[in-house]
Symmetry: C2
Subunit: 212 residues, 2 copies
């Protein structure tokens, strides 16, 4: 993947869906799938699938379909999922706990390598196979375990400080669930999840229905 093709964010956001669906299809014993069937399973048009996958190269055979195993390997490589990124979760409230145990992460190749909290009742507990460490040791552990990605699930007022410490300890990606805007250096990839957006979006559409 040395060639730097420009791919739209919308396409990149669909690739994990392709990846996951193709793995389900593979588990069902299917070896070849048409863009029509794949589209039906994922909920996008066959044209969209052909367009998305054509951005990366030739993964299918006209009139035959896509080779499932090959497509999985290729999409996994595009997404960098073959690299086994080391992930740390900071904050083991219910959300942190849920994320640590989210099966798709390990099946996508992410390796939960460290978990941090400040609560003495949580430190020392085992979460998804990893012992919870006190936040005081964040720098030390992140460097020792070569943490690539930090997942922030602490209260909003602590999120920026945690992000700073993760970046200073070598993390190159931050996934922020705290409901606040945080800043990271331009070379660090930040993805923020704002859970209130989904619910507000539903509310907006229901309101408009109610007004009609």
């Amino acid at each position: 993947m040395k060639d730097q093709i420009v791919i739209s964010k919308a396409t990149i956001d669909r690739l994990p869906l392709y990846f996951r669906t193709l793995r389900q299809i593979q588990q069902e014993g299917v070896e070849i799938i048409s863009s029509e069937e794949l589209g039906r399973r994922i909920g996008v048009t066959p044209e969209q699938i052909r367009k998305d996958l054509a951005s990366f190269g030739e993964f299918g055979k006209k009139g035959v379909g896509y080779f499932v195993r090959e497509l999985i390997r290729n999409i996994g490589e595009i997404l960098g999922l073959h690299r086994n990124w080391n992930v740390a979760i900071i904050g083991v409230g219910h959300l942190g706990w849920a994320l640590a145990n989210y099966r798709n992460f390990s099946s996508l190749g992410f390796n939960l390598a460290a978990v941090f909290d400040v609560d003495p009742a949580r430190v020392g507990q085992i979460v998804s196979g990893v012992e919870v460490t006190h936040l005081d040791y964040l720098e030390k552990i992140c460097k020792e375990r070569n943490i690539h990605i930090g997942i922030i699930t602490v209260p909003a007022q602590f999120a920026q400080d945690i992000a700073n410490r993760l970046v200073a300890s070598g993390a190159r990606g931050i996934w922020n669930f705290a409901p606040i805007k945080i800043n990271v250096p331009p070379e660090v990839r930040l993805v923020s999840e704002d859970l209130s957006v989904g619910l507000s979006s539903i509310s907006y559409y229901l309101s408009r229905q109610a007004d009609q």
Copy 2:
């Protein structure tokens, strides 16, 4: 809000951020704010803010700024947050528990009115002030409590069935966290959260950095 203005999804997705930030600003005692300062707090350009808010009407005074209290009320109305939607959570694993206790939901005006699970150890427990009911009573409780929105946090294989039952019981919005595609009738608003997308997006960008 009877007039049906067409507003882009990107704008609608930013409105909850505006709403939340403005409420923080209001709590700080600020009554009037410029688009520059609001932009700085939210992390978008002042031009974007002026453009977004102009879609809905006149909320500011040139050379003065936006009246914080008025803007909060107006955005809340646009998002339908003044309507007090009744929400049910189905599946009280860690994610369901985290969502039930997510403070922003109640502060956005969503009313957690029912919580369901099948686990006898969870049924009868109190989650964020609401008693967990057995899933067998979903139809009865949803009708009695006038549930508008169902949040699905059950394992993937049960998600479609739960969605069908919610819709049949009167829910008009579904927020799906199960990692599977579900189908709902066109009049029902479906928002799906795929947590693997965020992490894959980070992985994709880190891979490309590593290759450079």
